[in-house]
């Protein structure tokens, strides 16, 4: 695997220095761009985590009361779903590298399915809360302390933003699947798939932090 990447890198540099820019393909550069983009995503959520930290410190009691309302079971199921999907996306890259296009595609289908199941769970969780009148400006918030209001405000914003990233990740993977089906992404040209995988792992990592902060800390 490592040898393979090095060989690829070598061709990329050779290509870069000799041939013209119109056949420019630089897998290493593409991966670097993706990582930089992931940094920006981390900082975007970093701002949210900063807010969470600040308000948890200021309203520790209110946060504890509000967190008791969360359904840890659904949260745990969702964590398992995302972790499994991360595994399947990683396996899909390995499958493609070994020229097993069909296996690769079915692993990606499985990933999409996990993502979808996650969103369905999230939908039921949210609608349950909304049904109870817990949403920004909702009737149930009138009797709550500031800490609880902020907890639920942050809950909606952070999981909402994360959910948006799940959707974007699924679209990203969907496009990659089309490319694989049309043989635009192959065993020797799979950087796009790897980038989609990286993005999906990021979505996963963020959830791994959201889960304990909102569900497990009582």
């Amino acid at each position: 695997m490592i040898e393979h990447t090095e060989a690829l890198e070598h061709t990329a540099t050779a290509e870069h220095s000799h041939a013209a820019a119109h056949v420019h393909r630089d897998d290493e550069g593409s991966k670097m761009g993706m990582w930089l983009f992931l940094f920006t995503e981390l900082l975007l959520f970093g701002g949210m985590f900063l807010l969470y930290g600040g308000y948890r410190f200021a309203y520790a009691d209110g946060f504890k009361v509000a967190a008791a309302d969360m359904n840890t079971f659904i949260g745990a199921i969702n964590t398992i779903l995302l972790l499994t999907s991360s595994l399947s996306v990683a396996l899909s890259i390995a499958a493609l590298q070994q020229n097993q296009k069909k296996l690769c595609l079915s692993l990606l289908w499985f990933t999409l399915l996990c993502g979808l199941a996650f969103l369905v769970n999230k939908y039921f969780e949210w609608s349950h809360e909304i049904h109870n009148g817990i949403y920004p400006g909702g009737p149930a918030l009138e009797n709550m302390s500031n800490g609880e209001i902020l907890y639920f405000g942050l809950y909606y914003v952070m999981t909402g933003l994360h959910g948006l990233h799940v959707v974007v990740g699924m679209i990203f993977i969907g496009f990659v699947m089309v490319f694989i089906a049309r043989d635009k992404i192959t065993s020797i040209n799979f950087q796009k798939l790897e980038n989609a995988g990286l993005y999906w792992h990021l979505v996963d990592v963020i959830w791994i932090f959201l889960f304990p902060l909102f569900y497990l800390l009582h």
Binding site: S17, H18, A20, H24, L36, F37, T40, L51, G54, L150
Partner: protein, 563 residues
Amino acid sequence: MTDTLAAHEGSYLEYEGRHKGILGWVLSTDHKRIGLLYLSAIMVFFFVAMTLGVMMRLEMLTPGETIMKPQTYNSIFTLHGVIMVFLFIIPAIPAVFGNFIMPIQIGAKDVAFPRLNLFSWYLYMTGATLAIISLFTGGGAADTGWTFYVPYSIRSAQNVSFTTLAAFVLGFSTIVTGLNFIVTIHRMRAPGMTWFRMPLFAWGLYATSWIQVLATPVIGITLFLIILERLLGVGVFDPALGGDPILYQHMFWIYSHPAVYIMILPAMGVVSEILPTFARKDIFGYKQIAISSLGIALIGYLVWGHHMFVSGMSDTARIVFSLLTFLVAIPTGVKIFNWVATLYKGSIKFSAPLYYVLAFIFIFSIGGLTGLVLGALATDIHVTDTYFVVAHFHYVMFGGMGIMFFATMHFWFPKMFGKMYNEKIAVIACTIIIVGFNILYFPMFIMGYMGMPRRYYDYLPHLQGWHILSTVGSWILVAGIVFMFGNLLYALLKGPKAARNPWGGTTLEWRVSSPPTVENFDEIPVVTGGPYVHDKPTYIMQPSKELVHENGDKLKGETLKAH
């Protein structure tokens, strides 16, 4: 290969690819054309924001109402700030000249992600359109000032959501550009161009790009939260629901302070290009200047608290932030001294770009030194939120980045358009601009010290003399700017053809034709030395014909590889 050879011959301005006419521009992924797309848009917004500024000064001519109502005044200073900061100062040098010149300087045919590059221009235009829409919809443009401080920005009846959304989208555009430049600089340097053979403009852009990538997302989420707060009332910044407005200020300045280095670092990079060119001398302290850019980027990250000395912070935090603020002066001083030392014993040729650079060093030094007054805790309390801050900000931003934008235009104009302008007029315009600039902004230091608060519509009669002086300065300044652009515009239409290297520059962009061809180089050059060596060539432009290895050594007895 034959069709690419044909493409090599024509200039990028005349090249007709897949699309013709205007489509050939707005769908082009050529970094040079995208640079010009940015330039044309940025010029429009610069003139809009400048007009708003002139109107503000006109309003301040007399106490009470002069030409507009207080509400209009509030919207105008907000828009002046938002447009100037987000649509002009931040993108101007990186997006226009970074795009155009940097890939050529490092010996590349384009940036790493050309399509992403075009996408970032569309994001920029989307953001700009949103800002314009905010003017005419809802309650009219935001009246919060460009800082969008809560809780007022949540309560204001004006169209704050649209204006913040505009800033959010524009932030996205800068992130994409920054990401693109980092990968370009890492991956696409020509063979032999080591990090310390890279031109200092590229170094400046490299440091800038990192700040863009690492700081902008924070403002993205912060502005996004303001929109959510206005639409849904989430409560994170609303004191009525337990939110903390001070936390907003922290998050705003965590981005917006590094952002001032996004604004100034590329400008400093251009200074380091222009000085060795016109002093006919290698730059003094190349490595120090390169590293100090990174130093500014790093320390600049940690000083945001100095915007909040009076907002409510612990004394410890204030002292630490004040100390860190003073530290930024060190890498900045390193640059200034190295620049001056570059001129020492040089064979100086006084051309228009150099005039602008000298103006920059003078004005920026005043701006920098008054920054120390603001960074010191005791004096800051006296002048917080007064015209002193406004004056300081304009000395460093307009005097720093703005004047350098003009210098950059004059420096690379012949390269970009292949036309030469009238240098005498450019120098006269520069003189008018400097005189006008100082008459406009220097009285603000004095007024601020006397207690004139910023963003106020009205003032006490004893300040009127200074206000009149300042307003007159704005007229002189605008006259100078119009004169300068008129000169460039005339050159664009009727100017004589420019030579390949009119200034005697030593970096790669002066080795290609003016204007450059579509692919910049027939062949990727090989670099054999530093960027500012005047006495011997450090680039091999056609390595295959001159029979050299990628490391610059001559081929000995080996046959030429087929290309």
